[in-house]
C-alpha cells in the first residue's frame, strides 16, 4: 500500500475529491497547512509594521491506497489540482507497511 500525500491549492479540494471518488478512492484525510516555495507570498502592513508573508494557505491531502492504484490516484490528483500557475503544489508517494480500520480491525487493503 502507498500513502499518497498531496499539497494543493485550497479551492481545488472539491474537484480532486470528486475525481478520486470517480476512480474508487472513497476516503481521504485533509489538513490545513501553510506552504513555502517558489510561489511568492504577499506583504501585509499594519500601521508602521510591514511583514512579508511567505507561507501561503494550502491543503494537505493524505490518501492511503493499494499500491497498484497509487499511480492512477497521482494522475487524477495532478490533472484536477492543476491550474498551471506557480504554487499548484506537490505529490509525494510514501510506503505503508500496514493499514487497519479501527472499527472492524480489518487490515491492509480491506481497511481502506
Amino acid at each position: 500500500m502507498k500513502l499518497v500525500v498531496a499539497i494543493i491549492k485550497p479551492f481545488k479540494l472539491d474537484e480532486v475529491r470528486q475525481a478520486l471518488t470517480a476512480i474508487g478512492v472513497h476516503g481521504m484525510t485533509v489538513t490545513e497547512v501553510k506552504g513555502y516555495g517558489r510561489q511568492k507570498g504577499h506583504t501585509e502592513i499594519y500601521r508602521g509594521a510591514e511583514y512579508v508573508v511567505n507561507f501561503l494557505p494550502k491543503l494537505r491531502i493524505e490518501i492511503a491506497v493499494a499500491s497498484d492504484i497509487a499511480d492512477k490516484a497521482v494522475a487524477v490528483i495532478t490533472s484536477n489540482a492543476r491550474t498551471g500557475q506557480i504554487g499548484d503544489g506537490k505529490i509525494f508517494v510514501t510506503p505503508i507497511d500496514h493499514a487497519l480500520r479501527i472499527r472492524t480491525g480489518e487490515t491492509d487493503t480491506d481497511a481502506l
Binding site: 502592513i45 500601521r47 508602521g48 509594521a49 511583514y51
Partner: protein, 435 residues
C-alpha cells in the same frame, strides 16, 4: 506631596464616618437646580463613556495583539475600570473637582462624604453632584486604560496594577484638577473641552515613556507580530466612536446645543481622519487598510476632543484631516526614527493627536459656540496658552511616568520573563487562553 500626606491622614479619619453611610449628611447641599433632562442625558453619556472602555477599548486594543495576548490585553482595560473607580470615589474626585486651589483640590468629598441626593457641583449645577462625579470617573478610567496600549504584550499584570494606581494618583488627578478643577491651567484659560491634555496627551506621553522604559517586544522588527483578529479592533472602533458622542457631547454637561455642536465636530473629525489616513495609505502603499481607516478615525476623535465644544462643525473636518496626517506620520515615520516599541501606538495616535487638537482649539475657537475666541477670531494669545498647557502636560506626565515605573520596578519586575512572553500573557498572567 506634604499636602498630600496631610490629606492622607484626613482621609483615614474619614473612613470611619463613611463606613456608617453618613453620606446623607446634607453638608454643603445647595438649593436644588437639578434639571431632569440634563440628568437623563448625562446618565446616558456616562454609560456611553464606560462603554468606550469596556468593551470599546478592550476590543480596539485586543484586536491589534497576537492571539496569545488577547485576554491579557482586555484584562488591562477591565482592571482599570475596577481599580480606578474605587480610588475615584475614595479621593480622586474630591482632589480633582472639589475646591479650586491652584495645585490640588480638597478632601471635603473624600469617600463622598457630604454628597447628598440634591447636592450639585458648581461646575454642573443642573445635574446631581453624584452624576457629575460618576461622569468624570469614566474619564479617569479610560485615560489609565489608554496608557496600557504602549506596554501591551510584555508587561507583568502585577506591575501594571501598581503602575496604574500610581499613574492615576500622581498624573491624572493633578492634571484633571489643573485643567478642569479650577487649577492653575484653568485659571490661565487653557481650553480643553473633553480631554486633549488631561486624557489623550497625558496618556500618550505616559505611554511613550513607558514603552521606552519597558523596552521592545521580543521579535520586534524581526518576527511577524501581526494582529490575530482585526475585526475585534473594528468593532471596538465602532463602540468607541458611538461612545465618543457621550465623551465630547457629555462634556457640555447638559442636553443643549453646545453638546450637539460638540458631537457634530467630533463625528466629522472621525470621518475626515479615517478618510485621510486611508487616502495616505492608498497613495503610498497602493492599498487603504481597514486598520488604517480605524486608526484615522480614532486619531480624529482624539484630536477633536479638546476642541469640540469650542469650534464649528467644519473645523472638525479640518482638524480630522490634520489628525490623519500627523498621526500617520507619527505611527509610521517618527516611531521608526526613534525606534521605540509603542505596541499599540498610544503616543502616535493619542499623544500626537491630543497635542495637535489642543493647539488647534486655540486656533479655531469660536466665541459664539464655546464663549472663547481663538487665533482666527483675533485672539492669538490663546495659542500661547494652549502651548503652555501642552508643555506642562508633557513634562508632568512624562516625568512622573518615568519615576513611577522606576519605583514600581523596585518591587516587581515590569516585564514578564522571555519564556512567559513567548508563551503569551494569557497563559502566563491569567492561566487562560483562547482555544
Amino acid at each position: 506631596m506634604g499636602a498630600l500626606s496631610y490629606r492622607a491622614a484626613k482621609l483615614a479619619a474619614l473612613v470611619i464616618v463613611a463606613a456608617s453611610g453618613a453620606l446623607a449628611t446634607p453638608a454643603l447641599a445647595e438649593t436644588s437646580t437639578i434639571n431632569s433632562a440634563d440628568t437623563a442625558w448625562m446618565m446616558v453619556a456616562t454609560a456611553f463613556v464606560l462603554m468606550m472602555t469596556i468593551p470599546g477599548l478592550a476590543l480596539f486594543y485586543s484586536g491589534m495583539v497576537r492571539k496569545k495576548n488577547v485576554l491579557a490585553t482586555m484584562a488591562q482595560s477591565l482592571a482599570a475600570v475596577a481599580i480606578i473607580s474605587i480610588l475615584w470615589v475614595m479621593f480622586g474626585y474630591s482632589l480633582a473637582f472639589v475646591g479650586d486651589g491652584p495645585w490640588l483640590g480638597t478632601l471635603d468629598r473624600g469617600l463622598l462624604i457630604g454628597m447628598t441626593m440634591d447636592s450639585v457641583n458648581p461646575a454642573a449645577k443642573t445635574i446631581p453632584e453624584a452624576l457629575f462625579m460618576l461622569y468624570q470617573m469614566t474619564f479617569a478610567i479610560i485615560t489609565v486604560a489608554l496608557v496600557a496600549g504602549s506596554v501591551a504584550d510584555r508587561m507583568r499584570f502585577s506591575a501594571y496594577l501598581l503602575f496604574a494606581i500610581g499613574w492615576f494618583m500622581f498624573v491624572y488627578v493633578p492634571l484633571a484638577h489643573w485643567v478642569w478643577g479650577g487649577g492653575f491651567l484653568a485659571t490661565m484659560g487653557v481650553l480643553d473641552f473633553a480631554g486633549g491634555l488631561v486624557v489623550h496627551l497625558s496618556a500618550g506621553i505616559g505611554g511613550l515613556v513607558a514603552a521606552k522604559v519597558m523596552g521592545r517586544r521580543h521579535g520586534y522588527g524581526s518576527e511577524n507580530l501581526s494582529p490575530f483578529d482585526l475585526s475585534l479592533a473594528v468593532v471596538g472602533t465602532g463602540l468607541l466612536w458611538v461612545g465618543w458622542f457621550g465623551f465630547n457631547g457629555g462634556s457640555a454637561l447638559a442636553a443643549n446645543s453646545r453638546a450637539v455642536m460638540a458631537i457634530i465636530s467630533t463625528h466629522l473629525a472621525a470621518c475626515a481622519g479615517a478618510l485621510t489616513w486611508g487616502a495616505i495609505e492608498w497613495a503610498t502603499r497602493r492599498k487603504p487598510s481597514v486598520l488604517g481607516m480605524i486608526s484615522g478615525a480614532v486619531a480624529g476623535l482624539g484630536t477633536i476632543t479638546p476642541a469640540s465644544g469650542f469650534v464649528a462643525p467644519w473645523h472638525g473636518v479640518i482638524i480630522g484631516v490634520v489628525a490623519g496626517i500627523v498621526c500617520f506620520w507619527a505611527c509610521t515615520w517618527l516611531k521608526h526614527r526613534f525606534n521605540y516599541d509603542d505596541s499599540l501606538d498610544v503616543f502616535g495616535v493619542h499623544g500626537i493627536g491630543g497635542m495637535t487638537g489642543t493647539l488647534l482649539a486655540g486656533v479655531f475657537a469660536v466665541s459664539a459656540i464655546g464663549g472663547t475666541a481663538g487665533l482666527i477670531e483675533g485672539h492669538p494669545q490663546q495659542v500661547l496658552i494652549q502651548l503652555y498647557g501642552i508643555a506642562v502636560t508633557l513634562v508632568w506626565s512624562g516625568g512622573v511616568t518615568y519615576v513611577l515605573l522606576k519605583l514600581v520596578s523596585v518591587f516587581v519586575p515590569l516585564r514578564v520573563s522571555l519564556q512567559q512572553e513567548l508563551e503569551g500573557l494569557d497563559i502566563s498572567q491569567h492561566g487562560e487562553a483562547l482555544q
